[in-house]
Symmetry: C2
């Protein structure tokens, strides 16, 4: 039995080839709303449907390299300080009607970009508020229950998985700062949590929590009045990778 399994392993004819793609869940916070970078498909299958940016992995690049390349192509900006991590891999038999495709999804968290869709391939990419396309992820908001356009492939699930991953990571890592510019205020950081989690947080307790968690943020020296009201101190990202104690989502 074991020998037969080994012979099967090494016989490429018995194990047909797969196409491998990367799909990107690129999230940002715009106007206090969690938003995703989405495209509209121009060709079959699923022509006209909303989809995640992505593409085939090339023979000479690793999965992570493919994800970074696609990200640079779709956002039109290379070498961005965006956080990129693998999300999950999707390999249902008939998720693509043309051939057997295994898709490795990546999650990217970006600050609100100055030129969101400037580049070439990014011509048809645009930011969409997640609450408008997946309202079930924001039960607190009054869901207008509008019929939003269906997604291509299993991209609705991938996007939902990416949002859930981001929500979980905000709890115990300092990744919320990845949604902010290099210098940010406590209020801006709080609005990130509120947008991603779909909740409202007490500004006073949040301020105490952030400034009291060692290594989360470091004073940058200046102040700003970007948001109106009393000027707020500017901070930069700290150096910890794990928040202790963690930020807890309200039950």
């Amino acid at each position: 039995m074991a020998a037969m399994t080994e012979s099967e392993l090494y016989d490429p004819a018995r194990f047909p080839a797969f196409a491998v793609t990367v799909d990107l869940v690129v999230l940002t916070v715009r106007d206090s709303r969690l938003s995703a970078l989405l495209i509209r498909r121009g060709e079959e299958p699923y022509a006209g449907r909303t989809a995640l940016p992505g593409g085939f992995v090339r023979p000479a690049e690793s999965l992570g390299q493919a994800a970074r390349r696609e990200l640079a192509e779709e956002t039109g900006l290379a070498d961005l300080p965006v956080h990129l991590e693998q999300l999950a891999t999707y390999g249902t038999v008939d998720r693509d009607p043309r051939m057997r495709v295994v898709s490795v999804a990546y999650l990217a968290l970006a600050p609100d970009l100055p030129a969101p869709t400037a580049g070439g391939d990014a011509a048809d990419a645009h930011w969409v508020a997640v609450a408008d396309v997946l309202p079930e992820l924001f039960p607190a908001a009054q869901n207008r229950a509008e019929g939003h356009p269906p997604f291509a492939f299993d991209h609705a699930r991938i996007l939902a998985d990416g949002v859930e991953r981001a929500r979980a990571k905000l709890e115990y890592t300092p990744l919320a700062a990845a949604f902010c510019p290099p210098e940010f205020t406590v209020g801006e950081l709080r609005r990130v949590y509120e947008a991603v989690w779909g909740v409202t947080l007490d500004p006073r307790n949040f301020h105490r929590k952030v400034t009291g968690t060692p290594g989360y943020v470091r004073p940058a020296g200046g102040t700003t009045t970007r948001q109106g009201g009393r000027p707020a101190q500017l901070f930069t990202r700290g150096d910890v990778t794990l928040l202790n104690p963690p930020m807890l989502r309200p039950a």
Copy 2:
């Protein structure tokens, strides 16, 4: 540009095929030690090296189905009540010298099995204490620093990633019970945490924590004296999927 990308997408000749495999990180707790199911490779490449069980994904099965099939083949026991979840996907260009292989790793958590390696393909599979092959994951133990056999491919990293996933999941999910038989004692559950995290926990505080977390465990009615000492109450798994409050690893 966008049109050219689309034409690339649909031209199978320009995007060569990948082989797709699943690799399994199967963990259990035996004799109070975290152990993994490992095999010894019989053929090149990496003949003689230690490796994770796994194999090629078949054309008609999904990734999860392939993982369950391999698990059944390797453990020799089908329909086991083991927890199985996707871990991560590894796709470095030259991780396999024969061809371009993308491997989707799965994490399985099992109670100590009565017949660990009974089945056919499982002839050369055996349980190995993780601390013996990856001592750097257990800095608290006095590392005997023995040269352990090197792993095939990138399986050392995959195993390490699986252990780290398991460690994290014990904190905020009731998955520790997946290492226990259907009925277990608080002490047995504590030894799971101690084995996986590589720490010692205060039995009194642990008992208070577990019995005080709503939905984690439910009294089964009987008692047992499996471990010697005063008889302990038996419990079964509760119905929550998220522990609140979570079990916290000692800093």
